[in-house]
Symmetry: C2
C-alpha cells in the first residue's frame, strides 16, 4: 500500500465511512503490508472512546448481554463498536458469527459496528490485533467500544486487559464456577455480573462472589495480583462499589437477565460509576500508561521473534538442530546460545 | 556456580540423591546463575521416563487421582516424580501445597518425588521451567513423571504439551463443563477421565464426551487443531482406543472414583495403551521432535526478549517512550521500530 493509499484510507475512516473501518481492521487482522503505518497514523486520533471488556465462560450469556448493551447505548444516541474474540478453538468460530448475524438484524443500523476475530483468522497475536482494532474504532469516533471474549485463560486476561473496565459474567451454578474464577479472572474484574439471575442458584452464586471479593479485599495478597484492580478497595462491604475513604474500588456484583433486558440499565450505571472512579482516582491515566508500556513491550517481543526467525532461516531452518538434539549431540539451550550469540555480539561490538 | 560445582551437582543427581534433584529444580525455578549449563548437561541422560500430563478444572479430583497413580506405580516397583503446576493465581498455591503434604504422608517414601511450581514462584516462563524440571526427573532416573496442572487456558495447554500423553479430567456435571472443554483442551486430550463417576450426572457427562469426541472425528476440522492429537483417529467408535485401520488414536473415556481407587488400574492400562500406540505409530518420535523444536523456539524467543530489554535499558527505559506516546508525539509501532531498527541493521550489515 502506497503512502497516498494509506492516507486516503485513513481519511475515509476518519470521515466515518464504515467500509474504510472494515478494510482497516481486515488489514490489521491479516497484517497486510502497510498495516503498521496505518495503526501508527490512527494513534493521534484515539482517546475519545470508553472501552469495556466483557468476559465469562461459554453459556454465561455474554453475547445476549452485549447485544442489550449496544441497543441501550444506541437508544441514548451513542455509537457502538463490538469486537468479539474467540481466542482458542476453531470449533466455536462459526457459532460466534451465527450469533452476531442475529444481533445485526436486531439493532438494524450500522452504528453498531460488529467484528469477530479468532486466533485462526488472525495472523500474529490476538492481543495485538485487539489493541489495534480498538484503535481503529476509537479513531473512527465510536463512543462505546465493547470487547467480548470467552473464558479465563491468560490469553483472555491479556485481551480484556485492553479495556478500561472489565466485566466478568458468571452464570448461576455450582460453586465450581466461582472457584474456577479464582484462577486468573478475579484479579481483572472491575464488575461482576450474575446473568440469568432468574435461574435457580443465582442467589448462591451472588453470595459466593461476595465472599470471594471480601476474601480478596481482606487477603494480605490483595494488591499484589494482576494488572487490573490491583488497588481495588479494602473496605468491608464487598458490594459497596466506589469507596471514598481510600479511593479504592471494590468490584460490585450486578444481577441481570439479559434476554429480558432486566438489570441492563443498572449494569451500565455501574460501568459509568467505574469510569468516573477511574478518572477521578488517576487510575485511568496510570492504566493507560501501563497499557502503552505493555503494548510497546509486546511489539518489541514480536520484532525480536522476527529477528530470531530470520537468523534461523539464514541457518537453513530448525530441522538440522532438532536432529542433533534427538541424537544428543547437543541440547536446546546450546542451540539457542549458538543462534543468538552472534546477534548479541554484533550488538555489543557497536555499543 | 563454577564448572566443578555444576559437575558435582550433576553427579549427585545422576547417583540418585534426592537433595541434588531438589537443588537442581530450585535452580531451574529461580534461573540461578549456571542453570542453563545444568540443564544442558542433563539432556544426554534423558529419555528413559514416560511423561503423563493430568489436567482439568479445579474440583475435578486431579490431586487425588495423581496420588493414586503414584501409589499404584510404587506398588509395581516403579519410581515416580510429580510436578504440580499452578499457572495463574496466587490464591490456590497454598491449597496445592496443603494437598501434597497429605500425599507425602500417604505414600511414605521418597521415591515419589513431589514438587509444586507456581507462576509466582518461578522466574521466566512456566513452560520452560516445567520442561527443564521434567528433564531433571528423567535424568535422575524416575520411571514415571506426572505433570499436574489446573484448567484449560493456553498456558496450561503449553505446559501439558510437555507430556507424551495428556489425560483430561472432567467432573460429572452440567453440559457447561463439557462445552468449556471445547475451548482449547479437546485438541490435546489423549484420554478423558470422568472422575467422581459415582456422582449423579456422570453418565450424562460420559455421553456428552462421547458425542464431542465423535463430532471431532467427523468434523472436517479434525486434524487441523492443536499440536497434540492432530492425527487422532477418525473412526466411528469414540471409545474405541487405538484404531488399527488408519493407525489413529481416538481418545477413550475412562470412569474413575479416585478417592476409592476405582478405575485407576484401568486408567493406567489406557495410558499404557496410548504409550504403545505412540511408539508403534511413530507419533512418539514425531511428538518429541516437535517438542524439541518448540523448546528451541521458546528459548530463542526468551533470548530475543532479553536482547530487546537490554536495548531498552541502554536507552534509559520505557518511561520516556510512554510519555511521548501519551502526548501523541509518537505511537507504539514507531517506538518499536526505533528500538529494533538499529539491531536489525547491525545484523544485516554483517551478513
Amino acid at each position: 500500500m502506497s503512502q497516498a493509499e494509506t492516507a486516503a484510507l485513513i481519511d475515509d475512516l476518519l470521515a466515518g465511512k464504515h467500509r474504510a473501518l472494515a478494510r482497516v481492521i481486515s488489514k490489521i487482522e491479516n497484517r497486510a503490508p502497510g498495516y503498521r503505518e496505518l495503526v501508527s497514523e490512527l494513534h493521534e486520533h484515539t482517546g475519545g472512546a470508553t472501552v469495556v471488556g466483557v468476559t465469562g465462560s461459554p453459556g454465561a450469556g455474554k453475547s445476549t448481554l452485549v447485544d442489550k448493551m449496544a441497543e441501550t447505548y444506541r437508544e441514548r444516541g451513542e455509537t457502538v463498536g463490538v469486537i468479539a474474540i474467540d481466542p482458542s478453538s476453531p470449533f466455536s468460530g462459526g457459532a460466534v458469527l451465527g450469533d452476531r448475524i442475529r444481533m445485526a438484524s436486531n439493532v438494524g443500523d450500522m452504528d453498531v459496528f460488529f467484528r469477530s476475530m479468532s486466533a485462526r483468522g488472525t495472523l500474529g497475536g490476538l492481543s495485538t490485533a485487539t489493541t489495534d482494532a480498538v484503535k481503529a474504532l476509537d479513531a473512527f469516533g465510536k463512543d462505546r467500544i465493547i470487547i467480548e471474549t470467552v473464558g479465563a485463560g491468560q490469553n483472555e486476561v491479556d485481551i480484556v486487559g485492553t479495556a478500561d473496565t472489565v466485566a466478568v459474567l458468571v452464570p448461576p451454578s455450582s460453586g465450581d464456577d466461582v472457584q474456577m474464577l479464582k484462577a486468573g479472572i478475579l484479579e481483572i474484574a472491575d464488575v461482576f455480573v450474575v446473568n440469568k439471575a432468574d435461574l435457580d442458584g443465582a442467589d448462591r452464586t451472588v453470595k459466593e462472589l461476595k465472599e470471594m471479593v471480601h476474601m480478596r479485599d481482606a487477603s494480605p495478597l490483595a494488591g499484589t495480583a494482576g494488572h487490573h484492580g490491583a488497588d481495588a478497595g479494602r473496605d468491608d462491604d464487598p458490594t459497596g462499589g466506589a469507596d471514598d475513604e481510600d479511593d479504592g474500588w471494590t468490584p460490585p456484583i450486578v444481577e441481570t437477565v439479559a434476554k429480558r433486558g432486566d438489570g441492563v440499565e443498572e449494569f451500565l450505571g455501574t460501568l459509568h460509576d467505574h469510569r468516573e472512579w477511574l478518572a477521578s482516582s488517576g487510575e485511568l491515566e496510570s492504566r493507560r500508561r501501563e497499557r502503552y508500556a505493555e503494548e510497546i513491550r509486546r511489539l518489541l517481543r514480536e520484532e525480536a521473534a522476527d529477528l530470531v526467525q530470520t537468523e534461523i532461516d539464514t541457518r537453513g531452518g530448525l530441522d538440522a538442530y532438532v536432529d542433533a538434539v534427538v541424537a544428543k549431540e547437543t541440547d536446546p539451550y546450546a542451540v539457542a546460545e549458538e543462534v543468538v550469540a552472534p546477534i548479541r555480539n554484533r550488538i555489543e561490538e557497536q555499543q
